[in-house]
Amino acid sequence: MGDAVPVEQIDAGRRRDVAEALRARLPARAVLYEEEDTRPYECDGLTAYRRVPMVVALPEDDEQVRHVLHTCSSMGVPVVPRGAGTGLSGGALPLADGVLLSMAKFMRVLRIDPQARLAVVQPGVRNAAISDLAAPFGLYYAPDPSSQIACSIGGNVAENSGGVHCLKYGLTVHNVMRVRGYTIAGEPLEFGSEALDAPGYDLLALTVGSEGMLALITEVTVKLLPVPPLARVVMASFDDVEKAGAAVAAVIAEGIVPAGLEMMDRQATGAAEEFVRAGYDVGAAAILLCESDGTPEEVEEEIARIKDVLARAGATHMRVSGDERERLKFWSGRKAAFPAVGRLSPDYYCMDGTIPRRRLGEVLRFIAGMETKYGLRCPNVFHAGDGNLHPLILFDANSADELQRTERFAAEVLEKCIEVGGTITGEHGVGVEKIDQMCVQFRPEELEAFRAVKRAFDPRGLLNPGKAVPTLARCAEFGRMRVHSAAPGFPELPRF
């Protein structure tokens, strides 16, 4: 299914033919094929994987998108969609025999309807721009990935992006009402509606998080929520990471659903503090940021409950943001955690496993053990409220040995996440990065079901092939075709 070993050499004749066919309906500026023009598209946010695409297409309207899809379909050329290119799993890694379809020109906000509380936007619109435009109406778009100033809504739909507020307000799938776009053959699609549901199968939910492999999206309708009148954040220090992990579970067990609940360990707070001076307690083994939002009365009540739970859970020190400026300052360190950690080391490798919250302590101990085993440092930042971990392994890509140790380190952590009942990716996607671990998380029958879903939309496997869903042959090669007693699905059952 178009999932063979990718071609690494660009065929110059083929490139000329494809570019010429695309230029029949696209302006010359929208079809790039000289290497100096296509090189900038060689990778997304996962820079460890790079490949120069055969051709880059930058369509400017729906008709041009259809032309690209028609042309590629009829010539049998694979298409890799790309949003802002901030993805962290290589979902937009190009193909040397493929067209990279950039949606960067689709930047218009088509409609904001404050009464119906929705916005209709093109996929290239930045996540944060939606909230900026909705702000005059007292509304905002809730999912807020840390990269929200740069990432686009189309990419968010492809990856089902989360953010620091998704425990209370949901992921992309909970906040998108409708998508419009095309199949790889160029047939128009519309999933969802401006009503709260649509007839038939929930193809909207299926499309969100499908990593650009089922359909090409050209329009997204998102839900807007009223901006909470007040938000305050408690910053709590702990002298032990496991105590901090237990405190997270204690907050939820208390019946509190905080607007955000994040955790950073000492290595991460140290880096962030040096970078943005957020006022973190760098002496603490870990800090928690726990946010409450709502009316002033609600927030006051909830903050008191949160402080009480955290004190009982062993917090050594607590501070509550006094005003909006201080709240944003507390968050600034968390939001800047990745670039801050980036200053500690030439390269870092970000993981994205999600685990049941109650196993947090155990997984943290495991990661600490891996640091010793592989001789690599690994600061941790977590969306603790959802059990979504972002351990960042620090390494130097110029050292082949360090890169190899990093990959083995990461693989062990992801497999640990599966073992405790979690998943290899909470919000960054599988892409090319975690495709081998898919063979561990899913059994051959389930992978076959995914491939069948893909075939339903794209029978020839031309839309973003080779991502997210491994072939059985690839899994066999990976050597993980184990009897599924260790896998999460049906451990109590023998194979049929």
């Binding site: 119906a116 509380r117 509304l139 193809l203 299926l206 969100v208 109650r358």
Partner: protein, 352 residues
């Protein structure tokens, strides 16, 4: 291996081989929903029980045959709830039927729909294979979201064996108000309130009366009550249950009952019959003898879709027709999970 599960899987494999259509059912409380059920009855109730409920994880996992009432009771004991407030439509309602029907109750507009709370599902597909998708964690983007796809699929893609759902703490306080208003005014208020940070958890409008339920922290509920005005709604808990279960008088009678799902700001539709509005204007129940084409056209023009929910004659099709591309995708997906076409044939659309 679980003998019950083994039995179910063997029966599916035999049916697939012989091409025997199966009519999946639990308590049969939603037999009225969708197109007429057909095929040999396939009872899922023996595969029952809560598998795990870890309160601090906000997740419950249970088997398809688990009575919905039992599941909800277990959650109440942990001071939690199914946030989408699913209708039971009878004492025998099971979790499997609840997820297969995909219906949500009064809290839907504020909390989200059933599909929003599905974290994982285990299925028996049309080849009798056991498949597991999603999981028990809040965030999971590994693989396509098949567990949400089966929510509301009316059992046409497979036997939903087990489901993991996100649950939420029960609100600390609830208060319900009633206000008198004309339909247009009520629609405007409901939409305006939804755009403000108010703890509105349910709304309804019928016969010139707008009811609103507030849920949340005592301080927030108190403040909202003062700001919205109106009078206290008597026997409020019973009222919202009656609405959810369609025992409210608006649902009585023999006329065909339509479920109109429309954008919440849609002006009064002006269709003949008796109407009850929920979900801040986005759900309009219509008991009417109007021609199906008239109801469907008006709803489609408003940007929504009309389901013939309860009716003796559903020859016009229970669900609004799909576009040609969407219909083809439905057939392809059906064939992917149920190649012999044995599960709940015709229940959703005639060719599925």
């Amino acid at each position: 291996m679980d003998a019950v599960l083994q039995g179910l899987a063997e029966r599916v494999r035999a049916a697939a081989q012989s091409g025997q259509p199966l009519r999946l059912h639990g308590g049969g409380t939603k037999d009225f929903y969708g197109n007429a059920p057909a095929g040999e009855p396939f009872d899922t109730r023996a595969y029952a029980g809560i598998v795990s409920h870890e309160a601090s994880e906000l997740v419950v996992t249970a088997r398809c045959g688990t009575p919905l009432a039992e599941l909800e009771q277990a959650l109440v004991e942990a001071n939690q709830m199914l946030p989408f407030e699913p209708p039971h439509f009878g004492a025998g309602a099971t979790l499997g039927g609840c997820v297969a029907a995909g219906l949500s109750g009064p809290r839907r507009a504020s909390a989200g729909a059933l599909r929003d709370f599905v974290l994982g599902a285990r299925l028996l597909d049309g080849r009798g294979r056991l498949l597991s998708f999603g999981g028990q964690v809040m965030k999971n983007v590994a693989g396509y979201d098949v567990s949400r796809l089966v929510a509301g699929s009316l059992g046409t893609l497979g036997v939903i064996l087990e489901v993991s759902l996100k649950v939420l703490p029960r609100p600390a306080t609830e208060a319900s108000l009633r206000l008198e208003a004309a339909e247009g005014q009520a629609l405007e208020w409901m939409n305006r309130w939804a755009g403000r940070p108010l703890p509105v958890s349910a709304t309804s409008f019928s016969d010139g009366v707008l009811c609103v339920r507030l849920s949340g922290a005592p301080a927030a509920v108190r403040a909202a009550r003062e700001s919205l005005g109106g009078a206290e709604l008597p026997r409020a808990a019973e009222y919202w249950t009656a609405l959810r279960e369609h025992s409210h008088p608006a649902f009585a009678g023999d006329r065909p009952l339509w479920r109109l799902s429309v954008p919440s700001t849609t002006p009064p539709l002006g269709l003949p019959g008796t109407q009850l509005i929920e979900w801040g204007g986005a759900l309009r129940w219509l008991a009417s003898d109007a021609e199906p084409g008239v109801v469907r056209d008006a709803t489609r023009r408003a940007g929504g879709h009309a389901t013939l929910f309860r009716a003796r004659d559903k020859s016009c099709g229970a669900f609004a027709p799909l576009s040609a591309v969407s219909a083809r995708l439905h057939r392809e997906l059906k064939a992917a999970f149920d190649p012999a076409g044995i599960f709940n044939r015709g229940r959703l659309y005639p060719d599925l």
